[in-house]
């Protein structure tokens, strides 16, 4: 099993429950495990009845289990302040306002949120030596997919920027007449240095996602979530990321044989429809169903979480490939 395990899926299918349960399962088998929630509507705190924040903290009552919740807003703010601090050292006061406007603008664009989340993401993957397994509970399908598709896309963009910059520096060097020094030099250009640094970061992310990460999709036995899952698999494989398996969550139980009341009839019909859909999932998808988790009446937490963990057919395998 890979070191990084991602759970994705449509909103409300129970990704957090499944991620936490899997984290618990890993921890129980002796792996030092970290559960990372990247969903803006954090519910890891609800599952474990404990407040988490941006730094990994041990989960009370469980051994080897840690959790953290990433807050992209905080990261955007930190990034913004960082740049402003650098700016006050570098830029002459006359044009600070002009530049400041642009910096603010860049941090208010919709993409900023994703970029910040992605930064934290990479940060976690980079500094995960102390953990044997890192479980990512990701935000609903669309957001996650865009996030995972980012590295390749950004890499080629940054490549183009570096190329352009190098070309103009080359031209400026050629234009330097005799004694006059060039307006810019490649070797000491902070712009190229920054861009290259970024590029290496994206390369690391792309490589880690491709080689050291496993993806699982969580779905419910209903039409919408099945369709969204099939789209998600297509998108992910389009980016060279294979989905390892499917977790079918919230499966209705069947009533006992003799029961014939209204409730029992409803439940029986529902059970049959869902089983039909699960058979459909088995037939349609190339990915195996790694777990069928029954619907619970109560919120999944505490002992229930351990029960769910037991139902998960995802191997833990103590040898970590990383």
């Amino acid at each position: 099993m890979e070191k990084f395990v991602f759970f994705g899926g449509k909103g409300g299918v129970g990704k957090t429950t499944v991620s936490c349960a899997y984290g618990l399962k890993c921890a129980r088998e002796g792996l030092n495990t970290l559960v990372v929630s990247t969903d803006p509507a954090h519910s890891t705190s609800d599952v474990f009845d404990q407040q988490f924040d941006d730094d990994p903290a041990p989960v009370e009552g469980y051994e080897n289990l840690h959790a953290m919740e990433i807050d992209p807003d905080e990261e955007v703010e930190r990034h913004l302040l960082d740049i402003k601090r650098t700016m006050s050292d570098q830029v002459s006061p006359g044009i600070v306002n002009e530049i400041e406007r642009q910096i603010e603008l860049a941090h208010r664009t919709p993409g900023a949120y994703e970029a910040a989340l992605f930064d934290r993401f990479i940060d976690v993957m980079r500094n995960a030596e102390e953990y044997d397994r890192v479980v990512f509970d990701t935000s609903p399908t669309g957001g996650t997919l865009r996030l995972l598709a980012l590295p390749e896309f950004l890499q080629s963009w940054i490549d183009r920027l570096v190329h352009k910059r190098e070309k103009s520096i080359d031209l400026f060097e050629k234009a330097a007449i005799g004694e006059r020094s060039a307006r810019k030099r490649a070797a000491e250009d902070p712009i190229i240095a920054r861009l290259v640094e970024r590029k290496e970061m994206f390369e690391f992310a792309a490589e880690t996602l491709r080689n050291d990460a496993a993806f699982f999709l969580v779905l419910n036995p209903d039409e919408l979530s099945i369709r969204e899952t099939s789209r998600a698999i297509e998108d992910l494989s389009g980016h060279g990321l294979a989905v390892r398996g499917l977790v079918v969550n919230k499966v209705a139980p069947s009533p006992d044989e003799g029961e014939e009341g209204t409730g029992a009839t409803y439940l029986r019909q529902r059970y049959e429809t869902e089983q039909e859909r699960i058979r459909h999932i088995e037939a349609e998808f190339d990915q195996p169903i790694v777990a069928r988790i029954g619907q619970r009446v109560e919120e999944v937490k505490g002992d229930l979480l351990a029960e769910v963990a037991a139902e998960l057919g995802i191997p833990v395998a103590s040898e970590v490939r990383a």
Binding site: I83, I158, S168, L171
Partner: protein
């Protein structure tokens, strides 16, 4: 001053003039051309970095904002140029000496 010295001094003046002439007619316009080209190239770079300054959403502006502290002066000049530039012909026209 001997004759030899006077000839040497004269030759120096001529050489300086010739070099100046060469520089003014051949070298300088060429360098200027290269410099203009470099500036154009720079503009394209800036635009790729900060397209959102002109209302075009850019997926990388969050990252390229990190470059702004180092691009301070350039950025302001660039923005002014982009707003002011009337036509491509006007800009390209500057590159030729008639």
């Amino acid at each position: 001053m001997t004759l030899v010295e006077r000839i040497a001094a004269y030759r120096e003046v001529v050489e300086e003039w010739l070099h100046g002439l060469y520089h003014g007619m051949i070298e300088h316009p060429a360098y200027e051309l290269i410099e203009k080209e470099a500036e154009d190239n720079d503009d394209a770079f800036m635009f790729a970095c900060f397209a959102d300054a002109f209302g075009i959403p850019s997926p990388v502006s969050y990252y390229t904002a990190e470059l702004l502290p180092y691009l301070g002066d350039e950025f302001e000049q660039w923005e002014r140029r982009m707003w002011d530039r009337e036509s491509l012909i006007e800009r390209k026209g500057q590159q030729y000496h008639f």
